[in-house]
Structure formats: structure tokens, C-alpha cells
């Protein structure tokens, strides 16, 4: 964020350079996101964390920063399927949604200055809504479950995700390898 130029659209080659991270980050961060989401909601005061889709935010971050569609969809696929493994639903539901999010995030990351806070807020908000909507469509279309899409509730959660995403991305930026 510190290197943000204040412009939203990418206009030079410097801005499209891929961020690089130590290898352990690609293992520890997704695993921590999963662990936080399954462990912390056990505590009464931290139950709200179950509502926060940390694997989704991690997927968006790495897809945006790596600026590679294949890498983005890969990390979305892996995190989504891992998340599916902990749910009672069929494996592939979250995997499919996060694959799409990873791919689209990477595509968007090549067009925008993804270190700009406003862009990050907007992308987190939009991709969260897209993810939830796609999951809802899959539930109805594939699993034939009559689930109601709670738009007001999802909008509130999308805003919360946007602000958590900005804070999380700021923290993850510090793990980057500086050139």
C-alpha cells in the first residue's frame, strides 16, 4: 500500500510486476486461514469469525498480487476444496466458486492498481457477493436445495469482508519479498 501511486488504473510496467513471497507463505497463510475459521468460532465471543470467509480473502489476495490467472484459479481451487472437506456438502462447491473468484481476481489484478485501498475494498466487496451468489446458484441448481439468498445480510457481510480484507492485505503485504 505504501507504493500506491494514488491512481486506480495501471499505467506503467512497474505496477504490473508480480509480487513475490517466500514459499512458506503459500502454505502457512492458507492453512492458518482454514484453521482460524474452524477453530476460533468455538469460543463464544469469536463466533462471528465463522461468518468471515478468510480463505476467500486469501484467494483474492494471492490472485490479485500474483497477477496470474492460472495461479489464481489454482489457489482458489485448492483452498475451496479444502474448505469443502470441512463442510458437509459435496466436494467441489466451494472449489468451483473460489476457482472462479481466483481467475477473475487475477484478471482484474492486471488492470488495476491492486495496492490501492479503495480498489481492494471494492474488489473484496464485489468478489464476496459474487462468491456467495455463485454458491447459492450451485446450491439451487446442482443440489436442488431451496435456499434463500439473503441480500441485505450478504451486503452487510460484504462490507465487513471488504474492511477485513484491507487490513488482512496490509498484513500480508509485509510478507512480500522486497526488491
Amino acid at each position: 500500500m505504501g507504493s500506491s501511486t494514488g491512481r486506480i488504473l495501471v499505467d506503467d510496467a512497474r505496477q504490473v510486476r508480480r509480487a513475490r513471497y517466500p514459499v512458506w507463505v503459500f502454505f502457512v497463510v492458507p492453512l492458518s486461514a482454514l484453521l482460524i475459521q474452524i477453530y476460533l468460532p468455538l469460543f463464544q465471543t469469536l463466533r462471528f469469525i465463522a461468518k468471515v470467509d478468510l480463505p476467500l480473502l486469501v484467494t483474492i489476495y494471492f490472485a490479485l498480487m500474483r497477477r496470474s490467472q492460472i495461479r489464481g484459479l489454482s489457489i482458489g481451487l485448492i483452498l475451496g476444496m479444502a474448505q469443502d472437506s470441512f463442510s458437509r456438502f459435496y466436494i467441489g462447491m466451494y472449489g468451483l466458486c473460489k476457482t472462479m473468484v481466483g481467475y477473475l481476481s487475477a484478471s482484474v489484478g492486471m488492470q488495476f492498481d491492486v495496492e490501492h485501498p479503495f480498489v481492494r475494498i471494492l474488489l473484496c466487496l464485489v468478489f464476496y457477493l459474487f462468491h456467495q451468489f455463485l454458491y447459492w446458484v450451485l446450491q439451487r441448481a446442482v443440489l436442488d436445495q431451496l435456499v434463500v439468498f439473503d441480500l441485505p445480510g450478504e451486503l452487510i457481510l460484504a462490507v465487513i469482508h471488504a474492511f477485513i480484507g484491507v487490513a488482512l492485505f496490509h498484513f500480508l503485504d509485509k510478507l512480500r519479498i522486497r526488491e
Binding site: L35, Y39, I70, F86, T99
Partner: protein
């Protein structure tokens, strides 16, 4: 062709990934099967870490957390702060220990009371998913947990085992939309199927409209689903809505009130009874003892019930014939219970007739029209104005009365001859005598002195 693939490589990979996942979902749905390998990998990667964190937390987090909390009050003086911190630490530590002991006691009590075989387990995580509610426990197939086993706490049912891994299991919560259990209400014994709703509450389906279900009523497992044994608490009714065919009953599940830390997996379920509805605490008015009630209490109640008196009478009749009730070979002749025995089921002979002492009350008429009641010892000479027909030594029960007693015949029981005489002229031995008294005189108005007022 190669350049085309290279050019659209990214989108091609995306399509392949999506189609592969849709195919995987379709295969799982069609075959009603799962991809256990992936789940095993994911769960195996995360649960050991969660277990380790939980172990460390439960052992040390409370002490260190309270230590830092106690040091938050920096503005206070150093000594007070130290004392306060120490006391808080100790207090919190004791509270934690007490809470843990109470919880352990409750769990141990529950385990001792229930007849089912239980496997204790710790909850080490929740699982993700929209509308899904499930938890991970630290017992798996190595501990004997099998898929479909019931999971309970002393408060109520928690869920059922959905997936089993080596050292962990996934438990479907009672509030999950996919959960179902057969339940029965405690008070009205209404049966239905409890289903999760994906939120914190659940509902009971398939209860016909005519069946009575009250708000606040408790549902227990009925044991018909062959998962939960009969008699486990399920939830309390929070609302009832009538429908065209079935009622919709909303319940608050007991096992989902708070995230449980310890649960039991029922490996060998044994049915138990659904407890009866406890009596309501509605106060019942009990009148105080009426003043002087003991004196007015009927003779039958003072000496026991009528059945007691009858049994006593039979016992005496048997004894009079040399028979002891309860003794005697089967087929032996019973005593004659219709036999008239004086003093038992026939009028007793007056004590005076046998020369015994006693008092007899007589009623005498006087020239002034007053009726007197007198007492004299039986066997002594009658007093002035006494019944002229009665003589000392005569059995008073059959005393011959003079012609002055209008309408009365000798030998008749006085109670029949003289209305009101039963209360006003009763001999101590049961024999009665009257003289000069007319039938119809209200003798019940006898004053304390024994003097009856003229009519």
C-alpha cells in the same frame, strides 16, 4: 492449433477446472458417494494443529490471560495492584477449577446415569459452509467411533457423526438443515421429526394438526430413528403454527445452546424412559384445623376408617369362635361372620346387668313439664323421678318402660323410640332408658347441666 491453445491457455485451464469440479459434484450426487481421500487429507492436515492449539490453550491460556488482565490497572498503587492482581488470579483460577470440576462432575454423573455406552470427546473445531452446522471432535475410528453414531451432552443431543477419520470425526449439528431425528413430546407424547433449520433453532415436522403441542413443552428422542436412544432431551417448544395438514413446531435445541467443549459419542445406545412431567408448583390452599374439631370428629374417623372397623369386627368375630384370621389351611371352614356376638355386631349387655360399674343416663318426666336428664351409677338406686319401670340390676337395653313413655314399647331401641335421644340420653354402656319422655321432644337442646328445656 498449438498456438491457439497457448493463446487461450488460461481460459482453457479454467474451463477444465470448472468442468472437472462439476463432474465431481455430479458424480457424488448421482452415486450418493463422497471423495473421502480429499477430506482425509484436509482434515488430517488441520486437526492435529487444532488439537495441539486446544491442548495448549486449555492448559495455559487461562492463567496467562488472567495475568495480563490483572496487570491492566496500572493507575492504582503498586501494592494494591499487586494484591488485586494476585487475588484476581487466584479467584479466576479457582473459578476455572470449580467450573471445570462442576462440568466434569456433571459429565461423570451423566455417564454414570445413562445406560448407553459412551465415548468422551473434545470439540476441536467447527466446519465451514453456508447454512451448514457441524463440528469436529478429537475421536475417530481408532477410538471406536463409527459413522451415524449419536453425539450428546448432558444437556441434550448435539448431532450425529457424519464422517469418521482416524483421529477425528465430523459431527452434523442438530441445527444443520440436513439433520433429522425422531422425537416425542414429554407431556402429550406427540411424535414428530426434529429437523435443523440452518440457524440456531430447529423445528419438528410431520405432527398432524389435531395433535396437541404446548409452548414450553419438552421434546425427547423417541428412539425410532435407531440413531438416538429413547429419552434424550432434544429441545423445548418455542412456537407452534397450525398448517393445512401438519403443524410447524419450532423448538430451541438443548444441545446447541452454546458451543460444547466436551461431548459423548454413544457407541452402544440403550433406550431409557422419557421422564414424566414434573408436578407444577401451584400452591394448594390448606385450611387450618377447625377449633374444637377433634371433639366433633366422627367416631369412625377417630377409630380408623370404616374398613378398619369392619376388619376389626371380623377379627373379633373370628376370635370369638376360636379362629385367627390368616391362619388355617386352604379349604378349612371359615368362621361364621354372621354370628351375632354382643359388643361386636350386636348390642352389648349393660355393665350393670352383669354387676359391673358404670353410669346410665335416664330421662325422667316431671310434674312441672320439665324433662330431666340424670346420671346414676348402674346398680344403685334410681334418683328422684327416675324411670319408674327401670330397676336396679335390670339390663337397661331391654328395660321395660312405664306407660308414661308415650309411643314407646318395651324392648325397642330407644334411638328408634325417642328421636333425639341418641345424643341426649345415651348410656355409657350403650343401654338406654327413658321415662316420661315423648317422642318428638327435641332433646338435642340439652344444656351443659344436662337439663333439657321444656317445649
Amino acid at each position: 492449433m498449438e498456438s491457439l491453445l497457448h493463446r487461450y491457455r488460461n481460459i482453457t485451464v479454467l474451463f477444465v477446472a470448472i468442468i472437472a469440479q462439476i463432474a465431481a459434484i455430479a458424480w457424488q450426487v448421482r452415486q450418493d458417494n463422497d471423495v473421502p481421500l480429499l477430506r482425509v487429507w484436509a482434515v488430517s492436515a488441520v486437526t492435529p494443529v487444532a488439537t495441539a492449539i486446544e491442548s495448549v490453550r486449555s492448559g495455559a491460556f487461562g492463567v496467562f490471560g488472567d495475568f495480563f488482565t490483572a496487570h491492566g490497572s496500572r493507575d492504582e498503587s503498586r501494592n494494591l495492584r499487586k494484591q488485586l492482581g494476585d487475588l484476581r488470579l487466584r479467584n479466576r483460577l479457582l473459578e476455572n477449577e470449580l467450573s471445570a470440576a462442576e462440568k466434569a462432575g456433571a459429565l461423570a454423573g451423566f455417564k454414570a446415569q445413562t445406560r448407553s455406552t459412551l465415548i468422551g470427546a473434545h470439540v476441536i473445531g467447527t466446519t465451514t459452509g453456508m447454512g451448514t452446522r457441524s463440528v469436529l471432535i478429537d475421536r475417530g475410528s481408532l477410538s471406536g467411533v463409527r459413522r451415524g453414531m449419536a453425539v450428546v451432552t448432558p444437556d441434550g443431543i448435539v448431532g450425529r457423526v457424519l464422517e469418521v477419520y482416524l483421529s477425528a470425526s465430523q459431527v452434523l449439528s442438530v441445527t444443520d438443515a440436513g439433520f433429522a431425528a425422531a422425537v416425542e413430546s414429554q407431556k402429550n407424547h406427540t411424535r414428530g421429526v426434529m429437523k435443523g433449520m440452518g440457524s440456531s433453532s430447529a423445528k419438528v415436522d410431520y405432527v398432524p394438526g389435531g395433535q396437541k403441542v404446548e409452548k414450553g413443552e419438552v421434546f425427547y428422542t423417541s428412539g425410532e430413528d435407531r440413531i438416538f436412544p429413547r429419552g434424550m432431551p432434544a429441545g423445548k417448544v418455542t412456537g407452534v403454527e397450525d398448517g393445512p395438514t401438519f403443524q410447524t413446531i419450532y423448538i430451541d435445541p438443548f444441545g446447541a445452546d452454546a458451543a460444547p467443549e466436551e461431548v459423548f459419542v454413544i457407541s452402544d445406545p440403550v433406550h431409557q424412559e422419557i421422564p414424566n412431567v414434573p408436578a407444577t408448583d401451584t400452591p394448594v390452599f390448606l385450611a387450618p384445623d377447625a377449633k374444637g374439631a377433634s371433639g366433633d370428629m366422627p367416631q369412625t374417623l377417630a377409630n380408623g376408617t370404616q374398613a378398619d372397623q369392619l376388619a376389626d369386627q371380623y377379627r373379633k368375630l373370628g376370635a370369638a369362635q376360636g379362629h385367627v384370621i390368616g391362619v388355617g389351611a386352604p379349604g378349612s371352614l371359615p368362621p361364621n361372620f354372621n354370628l351375632k356376638v354382643p359388643g361386636v355386631n350386636a348390642p352389648a349387655l349393660a355393665a350393670g346387668a352383669t354387676g359391673g360399674s358404670g353410669f346410665a343416663r335416664g330421662i325422667s318426666g316431671s310434674s312441672g313439664g320439665a324433662v330431666r336428664v340424670y346420671q346414676r351409677p348402674i346398680g344403685t338406686s334410681p334418683g328422684p323421678g327416675a324411670a319408674s319401670g327401670a330397676r336396679a340390676g335390670m339390663p337397661l337395653g331391654i328395660s321395660r318402660l312405664p306407660g308414661g313413655a308415650s309411643g314407646a314399647r318395651a324392648g325397642m331401641p330407644l334411638s328408634a323410640r325417642l328421636p333425639g335421644a341418641a345424643s341426649g340420653a345415651r348410656a355409657a354402656s350403650g343401654a338406654r332408658s327413658a321415662s316420661g319422655a315423648r317422642a318428638g321432644i327435641p332433646l338435642g337442646a340439652r344444656p351443659a347441666s344436662g337439663r333439657l328445656l321444656p317445649r
